[in-house]
Amino acid sequence: MTTNLGEFEQLVLLTLLGLGQEAYGVTVRAQLERRGGRTVSLGTVYKTLLRLEAKGLVTAHFGEPTAERGGRRKKHYEVTAPGRRALQRSLSALRKLARGLDAAWEAP
């Protein structure tokens, strides 16, 4: 089964890969904002994470509770093998299509 990724899904998957062990709700959003320049609501982040999980592109596991979280556990997200493949496919398509367009980029 091939899965096509939406643009925001790509961003989230990339963020997850970048964050590694530290990928969960608020860090994903912070990273999207800092590195991706995207301001999104926490709801959108969670909704996307759940959708990716339902598609089997990411998995989640609970971490240890911490005091700063009021004794609540984190839910860590990790990109699965199918997730990596889907992301690579999307990105390579983008890369191929964008190749040689640098001139057009500059056009007014």
């Binding site: 969960y24 709700g25 608020v26 609501s41 926490l42 709801g43 959108t44 909704k47 598609k55 979280r69």
Partner: protein
């Protein structure tokens, strides 16, 4: 504002922990609007905008799953259906809210009084004891009798006697008269309660001379002593006497036997006291039965013991035995008939509401016939459709119930305010979990009740007729019959309620038309109590009341005024056996007892009690003048049949008391209630009685509105002695009206319920006829085309409507004849089958039915033959 704390439930369970954790981490638990916005965004995204992954549908549904999803589907579908016809939905919900709300409110009133266990341990074993008089009436007991019974009886774990105690609290703020009880020492342990602070009365404290101790109620302790936890052991002054506080009752303690009691003290009697005698019937008796002893068995024993006492002291008893009354009957007997009648009435309102919504549903089913036909054609079984319809009606019931609970919550305050003063356990009346549970059960039951008939009548439409174009209104006979039956039932129930309301209204009217024996209009009254060492002797008390009377008479607007020891219809009474010279009875206890009034010279004139013969009292009838008395007409008739009582001498209050000459006869005055039969009455000049009455009631006749003069008169009295409490200021009309309160309570509610019933029944008749005119459009059109006159069409419709109403009234009349006897105890001056009431009610209902017929009949005449037949 910590949104994560109190809005967490908005996040779906599965994600709640990590989301809330995230928020705490991001915002460090700070209050922040951003945090709230984030939380709401997640809640919205996950709960309502949730990603729906493609679901594989299993070929064979799992059983539980199937039931739940269909139920979910049914509910969703029902909501859509109800939302589609907001008019119908709103009307149904309002009707149901009215019925369920009224029923819930009444249930909340009745529940703590008649149903819930009373708030004492093993309340079934607590009984009140009474002496039984020859005529079957109940009487209080005397202290010596109590001691004998307590010594001999084996049926009881304990017996106590109590007397009223109304001490005046002095020394802290305004003087205040309190309501209390003097009790013998087992009183609280018989009830099964213990003080929360301090200790219960000991045997020692019940000994005369050591009995100046008191236990306070929680309310009094909080209100007057600021909840001081060191109160036990402190000294408090009542009536100028020092009492030591030994205990405080718990907040939860309800004083059912003496409602409103705020404090208690030991009775402190000893057998030698003059007021401890066997004939001093002023003590109330309460006991706890031994386990396994029934009230009947205890009564058998008491009757035996009592007859032994009568044999030993033949001149000191007039009673013949004793009563053993379970606590619940004791505290509820005054209000029970009214409460049950009203509860029955409210049940009728609920039934009518159900019938009405049933009718609405049937009418709607007509419009949805096509829908059900299609469902049937697609293979939906009858059970499936019935289930769908019942889901809708139960949903309606629940929404109506929720609205009803709100209504009840608001209405209950009104009910309590309207309730008779004798309503016990007022504080326990509330919408609690039990009442809400009752409402929920009621809502579901109601939904089933009103939904079942339409569901069954609709579920299997004739597919062929229903789906044929133009044949939509196939007019099933069963459905029409069902609607007719509903309307007949509604009219019948409405008639019964109207009869109830009518009977109560006529009773109230007759009661208020009773001449109380005096002129209440323009009279104001208040009670003054002398208290403290300054009023220790008779002369000081009489002097005070004389001075106070002068002060009242000096108030502009006061025409004439007098004192009386007991105010008619005021709730107090004082009765003495009266012996007549030359007709002495061997057993003085058999002497007729008369209401005794110690009055000032102008009292009879101020009250406008008519003087029939002889003379009234004057200022000359003082303490040193010859002793005189006035009697009422009933006394004259009963004791001097055919003779002239004037100049005869009577003796009131025992063989050692002085003889008094009857100088006049006055009219009868209703003392206990307007519905009570007349008793002998005896008036004595205040200063000629055996001693001064410490409390006197003012009766002042004034020009203009008595209510407006109350503050001035009060101030005048207070100017004479500001340390004395002034109680119960009221106009005499208020006093009279208060005695009709239980009937008024039942009447006002019946009236409201009957009005609702009438409206609903009218709506029901209208609905059936309107539906029927719609269904018969074609027929009416043909009739019009064939030359039927307008009058003919009108009478066709009206006849149908009146036929239904008449059938309903026949059923209702039969029911009313059977049921109205349950109102017997609330009626006055008429029988439960009062023909005038029945006739008036039938006339009213007929009128309403005619009005309800009018609009559909008018519409029938507007049916255009062309329009009606176009479909063919």
């Amino acid at each position: 504002m910590r949104p994560t704390r109190w809005l967490g439930w908005l996040i779906p369970e599965a994600e709640r922990e990590c989301v809330l954790g995230d928020l705490d981490e991001a915002y460090g638990g700070r209050r922040s609007l951003h945090c709230l916005a984030d939380l709401l965004s997640v809640a919205w995204a996950l709960r309502f905008n949730r990603p729906r992954p493609v679901r594989r549908i299993p070929l064979t549904p799992r059983r539980g799953d199937f039931i739940m999803t269909t139920l979910g589907n049914d509910i969703r579908y029902a909501l859509r259906q109800l939302g589609r016809s907001p008019g119908f939905t709103l009307l149904s919900i309002l009707t149901l809210a009215l019925g369920i709300g009224a029923t819930t409110a009444m249930f909340s009133v009745v529940n703590p009084i008649l149903l819930e266990p009373l708030p004492y341990p093993n309340p079934d074993r607590i009984v009140a004891l009474w002496e039984r008089e020859k005529d079957g009436s109940e009487d209080n007991t005397g202290y010596l009798t109590f001691l004998d019974i307590q010594r001999m009886a084996t049926s009881f774990d304990g017996i106590a006697v109590t007397s009223q105690w109304q001490p005046t609290l002095q020394g802290r703020g305004d003087p205040e008269r309190l309501n209390g009880q003097r009790v013998t020492q087992r009183y609280f342990s018989i009830l099964g309660v213990h003080p929360a602070l301090g200790h219960d009365f000991t045997a020692e404290e019940n000994i005369r001379g050591r009995h100046r101790v008191t236990i306070l109620s929680h309310g009094l302790w909080q209100r007057r002593f600021g909840g001081d936890s060191a109160i036990v052991g402190r000294s408090v002054s009542f009536d100028g006497i020092q009492y030591t506080v030994v205990g405080v009752m718990p907040k939860s303690f309800e004083s059912l036997l003496a409602p409103g009691a705020q404090l208690w003290a030991p009775l402190g009697y000893e057998p030698s006291l003059p007021f401890a005698c066997r004939t001093c019937h002023h003590l109330r008796e309460v006991a706890r039965l031994n386990p396994g002893i029934s009230p009947e068995r205890a009564r058998t024993e008491l009757d035996l013991l009592f007859s032994r006492l009568v044999a030993e002291h033949p001149t000191e008893y007039s009673g013949v035995g004793m009563y053993v009354v379970p606590l619940r009957s004791q505290v509820t007997r005054d209000v029970r008939p009214a409460l049950l009648a009203v509860l029955g009435a409210v049940g009728f309102v609920l039934l009518i509401a159900c019938a009405n919504v049933s009718g609405l549903l049937l009418g709607r089913a007509l419009q949805r016939e096509g829908e059900f036909a299609i469902r049937g054609a697609l293979g939906a079984g009858r059970g499936r459709v019935v289930r769908q319809l019942l889901t809708e009606s139960i949903l309606l019931g629940l929404v109506g119930g929720a609205a009803g609970a709100l209504l009840a919550w608001g209405g209950i305050r009104g009910l309590v305010a309207l309730g008779p003063a004798s309503l016990p356990r007022l504080s326990a009346i509330s919408i609690d979990a039990r009442a809400l549970g009752f409402t929920a059960a009621l809502s579901i039951a109601t939904g089933l009740l009103f939904g079942l008939v339409p569901a069954l009548a609709t579920a299997r439409p004739d597919l062929f007729t229903a789906l044929r174009p133009g044949g939509r209104h196939s007019g099933q006979r069963s459905r029409r019959l069902a609607r007719a039956v509903l309307v007949v039932g509604e009219v019948g129930l409405a008639l019964m309620l109207l009869v109830g309301a009518g009977l109560l209204m006529r009773s109230l009217g007759k009661l208020l038309a009773v001449n109380p024996g005096f002129e209440p209009k323009g009279l104001l009254t208040m009670e003054v109590q002398t208290t403290g060492a300054r009023y220790g002797d008779n002369a000081a008390t009489w002097a005070f009341f004389d001075r106070a009377m002068d002060a009242v008479k000096a108030v502009p607007g006061v025409e004439i005024a007098g004192w009386t020891s007991q105010l008619p219809l005021g709730g107090d009474f004082d009765r003495y056996g009266v012996q007549i010279e030359g007709k002495l009875l061997a057993n003085p206890e058999d002497a007729p007892s008369a209401d005794r009034y110690a009055v000032s010279a102008d009292y009879i004139r101020a009250m406008r009690i008519p003087l029939r013969r002889g003379r009234g009292f004057t200022a000359q009838d003082g303490p040193n003048a010859p002793r005189v008395a006035l009697i009422n007409e009933t006394f004259a008739r009963l004791s001097w049949a055919g003779e002239d009582p004037i100049g005869e001498r009577v003796q009131a209050g025992g063989p050692e008391t002085p003889w008094r000459t009857v100088v006049g006869i006055v009219g009868d005055v209703h003392h206990v209630g307007l519905d009570e039969t007349q008793a002998p009455q005896l008036y004595i000049p205040e200063s000629q009685w055996l001693g001064a009455d410490g409390a006197m009631v003012l009766a002042a006749r004034v020009r203009g509105d008595p209510l407006a003069l109350i503050p001035t008169v009060r101030a005048a009295l207070q100017a004479v002695d500001p340390s004395l409490p002034i109680l119960r200021p009221a106009t005499m009309e208020q006093v009279v009206s208060a005695t009709t309160q239980p009937r008024r309570f039942a009447f006002v509610l019946f009236q409201a319920f009957a009005l609702v019933a009438l409206l609903l029944a009218a709506a029901g008749i209208y609905g059936v006829l309107a539906g029927s005119v719609t269904e018969r459009t074609k027929e009416l059109g043909i009739r019009a085309a064939l030359g039927a006159s307008r009058n003919g069409l009108v009478s066709l419709v009206v006849r149908q409507g009146l036929g239904l109403a008449a059938a309903g009234m026949a059923v209702g009349s039969a029911g009313a004849v059977v049921l109205s006897r349950f109102l017997q105890r609330l009626l006055f001056g008429i029988g439960p089958r009062d023909p005038i009431t029945f006739a008036a009610v039938v006339a009213v209902l007929l009128g309403v039915a005619l009005v309800a017929c009018w609009a559909p009949a008018w519409r029938a005449t507007r049916v255009s033959p062309l329009e009606a037949l176009r479909g063919e």
